[in-house]
Amino acid sequence: MNITVIFINAAALLGLIISFSRNKEKSMKALKMALKSTFKMAPAILILLILVGLMMGFFKPETISRLLGEQSGIYGIVLASIAGSILMIPSLIAFPLTASIVDSGASIAVAAAFITTLTMIGFVTLPIEIKIMGRKFTYLRNGLSLVVAVVIALIMGVIL
């Protein structure tokens, strides 16, 4: 078994033990929240399970690597950044999704651009951000986050 898997589960178990020894009520609440958010996320996870299966089953790795691989260059990064800015995928499943795209030929730069835009930029939540944080702040933060994402992608593409 992978060492990170062991680490995550050990940390969860240890956290639970400490939590329960301090406050039973709070710990039960934490478990309930964990269960609730798992159910909330279940449809999204199932959708991705199906989509990843279809993607691997129907697209040849060559197609994916042509669109998102090394030779896609800046277009691949732009494509990934647009997708990442618009889509709202829970980051928890965004990582395995990205990993499977990388496995089938997408470049590291594309993966980094996708993850960073996905988490930092919320196209769908722009109206809420404007309402709460103001127009100027929102545009500055989202615009600069896009720049940051592309820079991260380019540097990671060169190094890795």
Partner: protein, 195 residues
């Protein structure tokens, strides 16, 4: 430990659901509808192209196995975080921190809580109102968005140590510049310059 009763809307909301954040209570209907749509499309495709069935099942299955190994653990960790780390505590510490240690604290405090980014907006707004430094608030929001701790564990698992560490490092450096830049670009709230 300060533990005020939590009244913020969306507090129960865990790590990014696919939902419109405006509404108080989200119906899972949309997700299930979308799932049904995708499932139907998949069934149609697989009936029409039986030769693609095998690789599709295999890919879905291995994806499922990978996710199920970490999902319960990560969910429990996030539940524990949100029960033990109150948003009020975060605001209290970040509200009057300054200088380099303030910037570092902003990163650290942003990495701890859980929940989608839009849950952090009201926190950020009240931080600005309380006179927190703009750079700190930008850093806090960005850390919340893309380098949260449970999230980094998942990244480590699926994309490897090199990818995770490099993206984390680059994010910290660039977000720091971004925070300072936005601070220079304008006054948000009544933030005063600190040394």
């Amino acid at each position: 430990m300060m533990e005020n009763k939590e009244m913020k809307p969306g507090k129960g909301g865990q790590q990014g659901q696919m939902m419109k954040p405006g509404m108080k209570k989200q119906k899972p209907l949309k997700g299930i509808l979308f799932l049904a749509l995708v499932l139907t499309a998949a069934v149609v495709l697989l009936v029409l192209y039986p030769e693609n069935r095998e690789p599709t099942y295999k890919a879905s299955w291995s994806f499922f196995v990978e996710i199920i190994q970490i999902l319960p653990g990560v969910m429990v960790l996030m539940g524990l975080f949100s029960v033990w780390v109150k948003n009020e505590t975060v605001i209290k510490y970040l509200g009057h921190s300054s200088g380099i240690s303030g910037l570092a604290l902003a990163f650290f405090l942003g990495m701890i809580p859980t929940g989608p980014l839009y849950v952090a907006f009201p926190l950020a707004a009240s931080l600005l109102k309380k006179g927190a430094r703009t750079a700190n608030v930008v850093i806090f929001l960005s850390a919340w968005a893309c380098i949260k701790l449970p999230q980094e564990l998942v990244e480590l698992r699926f994309l490897g140590l090199k990818f995770m560490a490099l993206r984390l490092g680059l994010t910290v450096v660039l977000v720091l510049f971004m925070g300072l830049f936005i601070e220079k670009a304008g006054k948000f709230g009544e933030s005063s310059v600190s040394d």
